[in-house]
Amino acid sequence: MIPALVVFAYLALVLYIGVFRGRGGSANAEDYFLAGRSLGPTVFLLSLFGTNMTAFSILGASGHAFANGIVTYGLMASSSALVIPVTLLVIGTRLWSLGKRHGFMTPVQLFRDRWECGHIGTVIFAVQTVLLIPYVIIAVIGGGTTLATVSGGLVPFWLGGAIVALVVMGYVFFGGMRGTATVNAFQTILFLLFGAIAITVVSAGMGGFQAAMESMLASPSAPLLTRERVSPWYFFSYTFIPLSTIAFPHIAIFCMTANRLTHFKKTIVLYPICMLAIWLPSVFLGVVANQATAVPAIQAKLEARAMLTVEGLELPPDAQAQLRRQAAGDDVILRLVEGYAPLWLSALLGAAVMAAVMASDSQILALSTMFTEDVFAFYGGKRRFGEAAQVRTGRAFVIVLTLLAYLIALRVPQSIFDIATQYAFAGYAALAPLVVAALFWKGSTKWGALAATLWTAAAVAFVAAVQTTIPAPPAGTEIPVWSPGGTPVITRAAAGMMVAGFLPVVPMTVVSALMMVVVSALTPVARPGPTTLARYFAQ
């Protein structure tokens, strides 16, 4: 029960920080939604980083590494450590500048102005919203599950989810961007501390990592210390995923909150170091968990995995699915710390996990900002009812969205939203050409933007359909889905749909860029007038 009490204390603290830090300025939309564009360099760095870290960073990364080995770090951390800061330098700084000069608060506002369009902006808003909502739902589910786990079942799932939803809703409602950013900064510090503490404690518990590494090299798990189980093309595909970051509305909106452009400098330079500090311990612990046979829960996972490898194909599908669930490593870091750490650290871990699963606050606020600016204000609500009504609408939207997410979370299994967030990364990466074209290509048009957006929506729907209708085959095998001339082009692998050996994100992004280029070139009459272009390409 002690870990549950620590988690409750943590939730109370977060609520206090968010509400207290964000109080005041409630009638002004820019203050509520963008913290008055006044965030300082440290909060900007920690909060931008925290906003981009989800439950996956701690739990999912170690779970993925437990099953797939060291490749996890190269797939998800080192590529992001390069691509995300570069996009912040090249694109984020421009978003900040345009937001400051023209008062933009959302990417769609910028697109509407840049391409002189109205309803096409609404289509982009709709696609962005559909791709973002699963994150909010999955956070409610994660919160409910975590509270139920740390309380030993005393807090049921429905109550845990409701408590987490209420806390997040509370500080987003009262604190707006200022409160949310401060909470995110606090949570990032917790993530950073957790990695170092967990490594130290688990190392002490296992008698150092050297012996574990040597015995792993001599065991059947040795391939987990290399990348021989994944193809270089699969590895390369993952470098496209971080392109999604700058296209995510909550990140683009966050870029507009900095007080000064120079605040980006520290964020850009230190972003890779933060990635290293959080991901290296998570991945490393996930890998060495394969040697933590003294922890019964981990031993059970290893046995399930071994049985799946030896007898998997001969077992009925239900038994295979059962073994896959037993072997899954998403809670492996929890089990490691439980096995080797004192109670106080388990409690701290519970709070860190809660911090990770509560990373949906920025998405909720972004969706609220988008709704009030891109729909309410655009279709005349602000003009008719005033700015105070706009902020009230934003707050009401926060309540409705959180309630909706909670109700869906009670009824739909988490696995569906786990998959949905995977689509969202690929979808947002495919929307990145819109941002690039808007900021850097005079010749881009609204029709090019519409074509790229519709292509993204159709491609995401197609990938979702393939992955839900064709069950995953055993690891190492692929089911042909489309084989023109006998050559398999689209296949269903254990990791998901593949296109000519690449993850779908690669063709989705490339074709989206082509759509933008080709359709814009075909519609030169739709190019904005010189006044508009001068605002974006003055130099």
Binding site: Y73, A77, V86, T226
Partner: protein, 68 residues
């Protein structure tokens, strides 16, 4: 010289992007650096630090002062 800066910055980023695809370490676990890090993991950890240093250089080299 000033006009060469964006070109140099682009080349640096392209080089780092290419170095991410370290196929030459694909099947190697040894050496185990510091006794605990397989060489492939060490490479990408070191790559992350080099990325931070490169970004520091980029911020000095091609900072968009005109946007301030």
């Amino acid at each position: 010289m000033r006009r060469m800066r964006p070109l140099a910055a682009t080349a640096l980023v392209a080089l780092l992007y290419a170095l991410h695809q370290d196929v030459w370490l694909w099947r190697e676990a040894r050496p185990i650096v510091f006794g605990i890090l397989p060489v492939g993991l060490f490479y990408h950890a070191a790559y992350t630090v080099v990325t931070a240093v490169t970004l520091w250089a980029l911020v000095r080299l091609v900072w968009p002062h005109h946007l301030e």
